[in-house]
Symmetry: C2
Subunit: 346 residues, 2 copies
């Protein structure tokens, strides 16, 4: 009932398992196996549809040809798209992907890391949660091939691949100012995570550069753990509280989505009553009427670089650190066009 093994081939070919192994691993030349024997084995393997048992191989070599991918939420548009390309790219190198979602919970992340260690993955692609420093440091210390995504831990020198959050947010703010908006609010998540900080910093920097005010009360933080209903109600209250508000910047895709929902419930017309810009692109932003201007991440590039960097680590002992920061793109749509009249008073 089991698959056929190297022994079966050896028996049928009348040689030893050793020889079969050599040939099948492309070491025929190196080990100076005769051409006839070599061919016979290859033919036999093809005929019997021999598939090496990866467990046995892994046990022996210590390599599983598997990488662990830890994302925040595989159902999120950004992470799902990255995951898809990561899987495709990994496949090119013969690696498979085990994945898991953290929901931004340190506990879940620890659990996932444990399971992946258990499973002896060869390398890790990790979206770190808050307070994951210790675990990441441990992996680094154990010299495990690893690359962080979406965010990094400033205290720990590791590989990472990420979008230029500062620049993306800077461009967004600058664009809003250029379009003539004056009273701009920001909705972000309550988290000390670096990517959110940098988006906020980029935004502030642009405001400062252009001498536009950005008082504390124009900033709203929503907990990651809030349900959709809670988030929407908080955003609504926040918006209602700021008279004369004419534009909002949402620092991540799902907040942008909640924001659209909030504005809809408030009866405010995007592009007309209020301008909207969000980090990350999404079908909703593209096809909403009016289209929602956004800061798009280079998803393909991110995924490709993640695998690139990881494969680099996997293939050599050269532990040079790779930190890749990719440019964000401002995608202009109709949600920020001042051409229409701008009034907001409730």
């Amino acid at each position: 009932m089991k698959g056929i093994s190297i022994k079966d081939i050896a028996k049928q070919a009348g040689v030893s398992p050793t020889t079969v192994s050599f040939v099948l691993n492309g070491k025929a030349k190196e080990k100076r196996i005769s051409d006839q024997v070599s061919k016979k084995i290859l033919k036999l393997a093809a005929k019997l549809k021999y598939k090496p048992n990866q467990l046995a191989r892994g046990l022996r070599t210590g390599k599983t040809k598997t990488i662990g991918l830890i994302v925040e939420d595989i159902a999120n548009h950004f992470f799902a798209n990255v995951a898809k390309i990561v899987e495709e790219e990994a496949d090119k190198f013969g690696y498979k992907v085990l994945y898991g979602s953290t929901e931004d919970s340190q506990v879940k992340a620890k659990g996932l890391l444990e399971v992946l260690e258990y499973r002896q993955v060869d390398g890790y692609i990790i979206t770190p949660t808050p307070n994951l420093d210790k675990e990441i440091e441990q992996l680094r210390h154990a010299r495990k091939p690893m690359v962080l995504m979406d965010r990094y831990l400033p205290q720990i020198p590791t590989n990472y691949v990420m979008v230029n959050n500062f620049q993306g947010a800077f461009d967004a703010a600058e664009y809003l100012l250029k379009m003539g908006y004056g009273k701009i609010a920001v909705v972000t998540i309550t988290s000390e995570q670096i990517q959110m900080k940098e988006r906020l910093n980029g935004f502030s920097a642009a405001m400062k550069t252009h001498k536009a005010p950005f008082p504390r009360k124009m900033l709203k933080k929503i907990p990651f753990t809030a349900t959709k209903e809670e988030a929407v109600s908080q955003i609504k209250a926040f918006i209602k509280d700021i008279p004369g508000l004419d534009a909002i910047f949402f620092t991540t895709n799902y907040l942008g989505i909640y924001g659209i929902e909030s504005l809809k419930e408030l009866g405010l017309k995007i592009g007309k009553d209020i301008a909207v810009i969000s980090f990350d692109d999404h079908d909703l932003f593209r096809l909403h009427t009016p289209g929602i201007t956004c800061v798009a991440q280079p998803i393909h590039d991110i995924a490709r670089n993640l695998i690139q960097v990881l494969m680099n680590e996997l293939s050599q002992n050269n532990h040079q650190i790779n930190q890749v920061v990719l440019p964000a793109t401002l995608v202009k749509r109709e949600s920020c066009t001042k051409s229409v009249s701008l009034t907001l008073e409730k």
Copy 2:
């Protein structure tokens, strides 16, 4: 450098690896190991943070505690959400998930199945592509635990979990008719896949029941392989070709999205110029103005049932076939409200 093994514990506890294995596998009672020895081993294992090597265990037992998940496209909203819950549910049983996207290509699906076999997954959750009958039949013949999702192969008796496509489409058509629409078109994919057939059948049946005409020219099929641009341009041409068209049913989420894009480009106002209804729910449908009426799939239930059925197979030899069909829900939004004037002539 390697982790610590059963041998290490045995040595430190002054017992044999056998005893350690028994205790660690909860067979202390059964094997009548003394309480003191048992406790000593447990303590030691905790102290040393012993993690069993899954490869070795798998090699010995033939079980990897891994399941393979084959979806059409992990970046698609429906599949990403199912995948997320599948992963969570599998985790509860100690299983991890290896996944892959087929892009509806038989070749890719075959490749994925090969890799998963290679990796000795214990069970499969498969979204079959066209022409995958042979491979599925092989798995069935080899008595591999397996459950199909989203669609099934009528010729092969297998487990599956899926939404009631017929009923969902029937309800959609009936609803359109009740709302007063008379000239209704359907946009689907060119594929003989059963789920699309059933959606079409459900639609036709409702039309027939209500004695509404549904001539062939009201049906447009788009190849799965079409790019977004191609699909949109085909949909636009199709719509322009039907004078008096007042409603469209899209048989799957991405076609609905393309449809919205097409109508936007044509300058037609959804809900006003034309009614729209799509299979599958999506943030875009919920938050579009007007909201897009849709036939929602019970994603949580689908995922939970998938794991349920698979775990059932995995845990027993009882090869009773489980075929779960879950109800679809019509989510009514503003894209199909006849209250507004309906005119369409170009």
